[in-house]
Amino acid sequence: MRLKRFSVIAMALLAACKPPTPAKQMDSIQSWLATAELDGDAWLRHAAPDNYSRQTLELSRETLLQVSHDLLSSHPPGVDSAMLDSVLIRSRRHIGQMSRFIEAKNPPAFARQLDSLRADQKIVKRIANSIESGR
């Protein structure tokens, strides 16, 4: 009886310990894309210093790499993995470019990358919505 109770608790804990769902991972991806966008916008408005903005963009890029790797390696059902992968690679590239344009002090080029990032954000949002509605 005790063994049975123990195994039920253990199974419940194991079930609860499962990795984050694709929807949660998409939330995290959207959160870090939005962080990069807000940071970029603040830098363009001279509301955030260079050092900080570059560090935050770098942090966003690294976290996006990690989360998207985890998400795509689990082959989430109902997700166009190829499309998601390509948009996330592109987003990370935009963020990397933004970081470089801060160093080069080139706001016009930075603004173009920021606009592209915003366009990618919309695509990611559509994919996230499709996962949400497919649940």
Binding site: L13, T35, A42, R45, N51, T56
Partner: protein, 404 residues
Amino acid sequence: MKKILQISLGIVTAVGGFLEIGSVVTAVQAGASFNYQLLWAVLLGTICLIFLVEMSGRLAAVSKHTIVEATRERFGFPFFFIVMIGMTLVAFLVLVAELGGIGLSLQILTGIGFPWWAIPVSFLVWLLMWKGTFGLIENGASLLGLVTLSFVVAAVRLHPDWGSAAHGLLPTFPGARKASYWFVAVSILGASISPSLMYFYSSGAIEDEWDESYIPINRLTATLGMSLGGFLSMAVLVVAALVFHPRGIDVQKFEQASLLMTTALPKWGFTLFALSMLFACFGAALEISLAIAYFFAQGFGWNWSEDLAPSRDARFCLTYTIIILLGAVPLLFGVDPVKVTVMSMALTSATLPLAIVPFIFLMNDPIYLGKHRNGWLSNSVVLIIILLSFILAVISIPLELIGG
């Protein structure tokens, strides 16, 4: 005139010293993830804190005992020892978080990573404790902390929908992310109801030689000071709800939180946030280190006073020296102060009954308080809120840990 000055200074220091990394991080996470929905937790925590701080001052003014001395005397050493272990562990985690908060503020200002600041910051905290007086620590740090009023300016400039915000003052059940919602609520309560603050406050009352004539001043200072402080926490939550929530930013890192005021105050918002965190965490690190040293010294019957020369209360000074040194170690290894903050605030909630229930017994003991004993209202309010936060903590901490 002297009393008016004392009251004003008390309120100003209470406001300036109210925010620290715990209250800011939990309020930012609440606003970012749940819009105004968790304003009620800040309100509840502030109400409880007003009662507890008033009681701490009253106990010291009437009985001439600090909470620690009275707990040990009334309940005996074995029970006191259990309380001491629990409170010291939680307070130590909070100290790590505050030292980390200073390091993170300097990181965003200078670009130099926070682990590099662990030793210089700890040394500076220790130096101020070693050389400074109680007045300098209590008033100096809190006056600098008045820069946190910029959160209110930012909230007003963002033109929040005050009706929706007022709605958030009433508890609601979340539609989704239930475990996360209750975990953040518990963390807010833990950040608001800090037993270390009570120990610090009652020790301060003894350091300042309060007597029964201070009871009205204490009541006014606790009520107005903590209310205005709670208002500051609410302002942080409101700004986060307006800046992060619509963008879907779930704040996990300090770098994200640092963008809090760049929308409302484009020119100075970033610097004001960094300075607010720097001064608030610095003041809190001093207070927590002192609170732990007071706890040990008063519990073991050593000499203690921040106003004495270190040679006259050597063991008291040795305690804060060791604690501050140990507090720097996790940061040197790059432990994320934000994660330590959130966990320490939730653990504070879980351990609240250990500190508060014996305190309520003391506050009803005629030997210590005479005619100034607690009434039914203060007993009920505090016990209900403590019980609520304990139950929420016991349920939500495992859920949050398991759910990652």
